[in-house]
């Protein structure tokens, strides 16, 4: 079943002075099936972050359509957008975005608190997630007391606790050392194996090689995609690097 459908997505920014138009996204079309693990790759400036912001309903597209589980995002009224985001999407950001005023536990609870859930329910949901991510012992600590990897796992827990349709991850390994990054990517794979759909934006080949499918964006368009098929991580890694070489040195389009 298709969870996410992106059709002819377009985003144009107008610069502040002079009215020059910058096309961040020209014409992006793709879809994500339930239970998929998709990585979107591209160089900086290719429109990755713009795409993710639009998918997260943090930004509005200039043209085109996004359907999440069949519902057109543009039909969600402004006042419900936050609720919609909270109920359907989970976020993992590059710089963690944890609140330093809250303990690890309370950080994970945050979306549930915003949703007005009862405390016993939150506690019940927390335990298995925290245990599987290996942060159960840290719950009473504060963000500044734990390592980067632990912070990112906290952010993953926060994304998972609402049981979202889709997890959006923006460069989740960007601020981590390689061991913490490996660890996190393994967590993502494991989470994906439980049936969770993940959409990750990254320019790390390593990160993308964990995904089930890799989309390449260049100049605001989906340029190419690779399915994992039966490939191992290492093989996929090789294929991605090759594609990137072609991408940067020029080449034909194959979608």
């Amino acid at each position: 079943m298709t969870i996410l459908e992106v059709q002819n997505l377009k985003k144009t920014y107008t610069t502040r002075f002079g009215g020059n138009q910058v096309e961040a996204l020209k014409n992006v079309t793709f879809s994500v099936e339930e239970g998929e693990y998709v990585a979107i790759m591209g160089e900086s400036g290719s429109g990755k972050t713009t795409l993710l912001n639009i998918l997260a309903a943090l930004d509005k597209p200039t043209g085109g359509r996004i359907k999440l589980k069949g519902r057109d995002l543009s039909t969600v009224p402004e006042r419900e957008i936050a609720t919609f985001r909270r109920q359907n999407l989970g976020f993992v950001f590059q710089d963690f975005n944890l609140l330093d005023t809250l303990s690890i536990r309370d950080n994970i609870f945050l979306p549930l608190v915003l949703a007005g859930r009862k405390y016993p329910e939150m506690e019940k949901r927390l335990e298995p997630i925290a245990k599987s991510l290996g942060i159960y012992e840290l719950l009473s600590k504060f963000p500044y007391e734990v390592s980067g990897g632990q912070k990112q796992r906290t952010a993953v827990a926060r994304a998972l606790i609402t049981k979202p349709q889709l997890i959006l991850a923006d460069e989740p390994t960007g601020a981590l050392d390689s061991r913490a990054a490996d660890d996190l990517l393994n967590q993502f794979s494991r989470i994906n194996q439980t049936g969770q759909t993940i959409l990750m934006v990254t320019h790390s080949v390593k990160a993308a090689s964990h995904a089930g499918r890799v989309l390449f964006i260049k100049d605001g368009e989906v340029f190419h995609q690779i399915y994992r098929g039966n490939m191992k991580n290492e093989e996929l890694y090789q294929k991605i690097s090759d594609t990137l070489t072609v991408l940067t040195t020029g080449g034909e389009r194959h979608v």
């Binding site: 943090l58 936050a82 005023t101 608190v113």
Partner: protein, 659 residues
């Protein structure tokens, strides 16, 4: 040349750290302005000429001391948080090869610049603000008072010295902090979140105890003007207690809120409670400051507004008749002389007296006992919990009432100015017992009052011999003066009344050498307005000053916190907090910051009420209902202004965190 590098460095540092330096600068300037304007008032020559200048000045002096304490605590704390934020930067300088000594020089220049700029701007701002407020108040009150605007050298130098010392001490403590730490620690300094404060039960208890002690002390002081040092100690205790309570108690309180899971895990409270705990050390002092300032606003304003609105009541207490002539020591001869002079002078001006009375009496202060009254002292001094008894021959009663009553040695007529009559059959002073034969509802000599200054009785007995016998039986005898009082209303023009009054005073004092004084209501009313007008002016001035400081500090505190909080709100919005929820959270957070201190300051005011009542009754304002109404009114208006500032702040805050 070498030095100028440090100056330049210091300057650019401050420019780079605008966001944290600006609030610090603004708060110190406001504090200095507050202190400076307070000391301008202290030194004002008009105050020295006001009646009761001595006690007035000591009250103002205590007020200044409180503001000074406030300024110390406030600036010191703001400074300590500023330096905490800058640890990382200082560590970087250290790592890049600046020695501790060079850092010290750089920091010295920074302190000098910030301190110098704040003091200069504070004094200049204070001068301008004082001037503006004087002009504005003259416009509002509509008449000039004995207070003229003036800036004295001593107020400038006091302000200069006090704040130079505060800034210097702050500088030294910063230096010690930097000296103690190694560069690595400094580098990490900025990133380490404030450690979650511990609940300090001992300090909480200490705060509660000091406040309670202050409250009790304030309520047992009989005459606040006399026992002014006790009064001051009470105020000091409450101030110290407020700081302690906020520093320790608020953390205990918030942690309690956090423990209550069903309260804490609500979207509205979640961020505000955790955020407040996170910043509580900083917040606590800020909240205590706001609480103390609001209390000052409330006490000053309710007192002066009460005094102003109660003017009628004061006049009535003070002047039952239009003209009252009082001779402190009288005998039959002086009475005859005085009566003749009065008659002659009234005739000369062609004006007539009406509703008059004459009375020769002796006054004493007594204590109420179970079965009578025990003697305390001669004279008619004001003691709120004692009873004034006047003894006079019945012949004066007969004269003023047009009656012809004859009494035996043990009989007496009694009159009380209280609304509730004496009502008993006997009146006993020490060992002398009188049977009450009559109690009139009204006599011309004294009006019934709704709110008498103190409980008082006039006892008319058979004759002078009875009075003399009674006096000689008292524990304290000796020369006792019989006071003669002659009072009446007048017909005729104001000028003629004044001319007659002047002539009477002149002849009695100069021609006959009789000691006494004459009070004409019309003349007094003017002086009286002037006097109470000055009071009113002073109250409004100080109240307005405190109010402004409160508002500015609270506003600025919230706005600078808004910038700190912005990132957090942005994260919450990404995670799924709607604009509406942001608004709600902001409101809940700011409401707590605003109304926690207001609540406590209203409590302080309630505890100080007895004290205020006594203070006002020594100014002849005895209408308790009026005082209550004024106090409540002041609180309401203050709360309204407060609520307005709250709305404004919440809106600005919301704008900042959602931008």
């Amino acid at each position: 040349m070498f030095k100028s590098i440090y100056i330049r460095l210091a300057f650019t540092n401050m420019k780079k750290n605008k966001r944290s330096y600006l609030p610090f600068l603004v708060t110190s300037i406001i504090t200095i302005m507050l202190f400076f304007d307070m000391s301008i008032i202290m030194d004002n020559s008009g105050i020295k000429e006001m009646p009761g200048a001595g006690s007035m000045r000591s009250i103002l002096g205590f007020g200044t001391v409180i503001v000074a304490i406030f300024a110390c605590v406030f600036l010191f704390y703001t400074n300590s948080f500023l330096i905490k934020q800058r640890r990382k930067e200082i560590g970087l300088y250290n790592v890049l090869g600046m020695g501790k000594k060079e850092i010290a020089i750089m920091m010295f220049w920074e302190s000098l610049m910030v301190g110098g700029a704040s003091i200069l701007a504070g004094i200049l701002g204070g001068i301008i603000l004082g001037r503006l407020m004087f002009l504005l108040l003259y416009k509002i009150i509509g008449y000039q008072t004995s207070l003229q605007y003036e800036v004295t050298g001593s107020s400038i130098s006091t302000t200069l010295i006090l704040f130079a010392v505060i800034f210097f001490v702050a500088f030294v403590s910063n230096l010690i902090q930097v000296r103690k730490a190694n560069p690595i620690e400094l580098l990490r300094g900025g990133n380490v979140g404030e450690k979650e404060p511990k609940t300090k039960i001992l300090l909480t208890v200490f705060g509660v105890v000091t406040i309670a002690a202050g409250y009790i002390l304030a309520n047992i002081v009989e005459n606040p003007i006399e026992a002014i040092s006790v009064f001051f100690v009470a105020v000091l205790l409450v101030v110290i207690g407020t700081y302690a309570l906020f520093v320790a108690g608020s953390i205990a309180f918030l942690k309690l809120l956090r423990k209550n899971k069903s309260f804490y895990y609500k979207a509205k409270h979640f961020h505000s409670v955790s955020g407040m705990i996170y910043r509580m050390k900083q917040n606590a002092v800020g909240l205590a400051n706001i609480c103390i300032l609001s209390t000052m606003v409330l006490v000053t304003l309710s007192t002066t507004v009460g005094l102003n609105l109660g003017m009628e009541n004061i006049m009535e207490n003070r002047f039952p008749k239009e003209l009252i002539l009082t001779i402190e020591q009288s005998n039959e001869e002086t009475i005859r002389t005085v009566d003749t002079v009065v008659a002659e002078e009234l005739n000369r001006q062609g004006i007539r007296q009406e509703n008059g009375y004459r009375c020769q009496s002796v006054s004493m202060v007594t204590d109420k006992e179970k079965d009578g009254f025990s003697f305390y002292a001669f004279g008619s001094l004001f003691y709120p919990n004692r009873v004034l008894v006047q003894l006079a021959p019945v012949s004066y009663y007969n004269e003023m009432m047009g009656e012809n009553l004859e009494l035996s040695d043990q009989e007496a007529v009694i009159y009380t100015s209280s609304k509730t009559p004496y009502g008993k059959d006997h009146f006993r002073i020490e060992d002398t017992d009188f049977t009450i034969v009559e109690e009139p509802d009204a006599i011309p000599m004294e009006k019934k009052q709704n709110f008498p200054v103190m409980e008082s009785y006039i006892l008319f007995v058979k004759d002078q011999t009875v009075i003399n016998n009674l006096i000689s039986s008292l524990p304290e005898s000796g020369e006792v003066s019989m006071e003669y009082s002659y009072g009446f209303d007048l017909t005729g023009s104001e000028e003629k009344k004044e001319a007659a009054a002047e002539a009477i005073t002149n002849r009695i004092q100069n021609d006959y050498g009789i000691g006494g004084y004459l009070e004409l209501r019309g003349v007094y009313e003017e002086d009286f307005h002037m006097f109470y007008g000055s009071f009113f002016f002073l109250g409004i001035f100080l109240g307005g000053l405190f109010l402004m400081a409160t508002v500015l500090i609270i506003y600025y505190k919230q706005i600078s916190e808004g910038f700190e909080d912005r990132n957090r709100y942005q994260i919450m919005q990404k995670v799924g907090m709607s604009r509406r929820e942001v608004k709600k959270t902001v409101n809940s957070q700011i409401r707590m910051v605003f109304f926690l201190p207001l609540g406590l300051s209203v409590l302080h005011l309630a505890a100080a009420f007895q004290l205020i009542r006594r203070l006002l009754s020594s100014f002849n304002l005895t209408n308790t209902n009026l005082i209550v109404a004024c106090t409540i009114g002041t609180v309401l208006i203050f709360a309204l202004i407060y609520a307005f500032v709250f709305k404004l702040t919440a809106r600005e805050y919301y704008k900042i965190v959602t931008r």
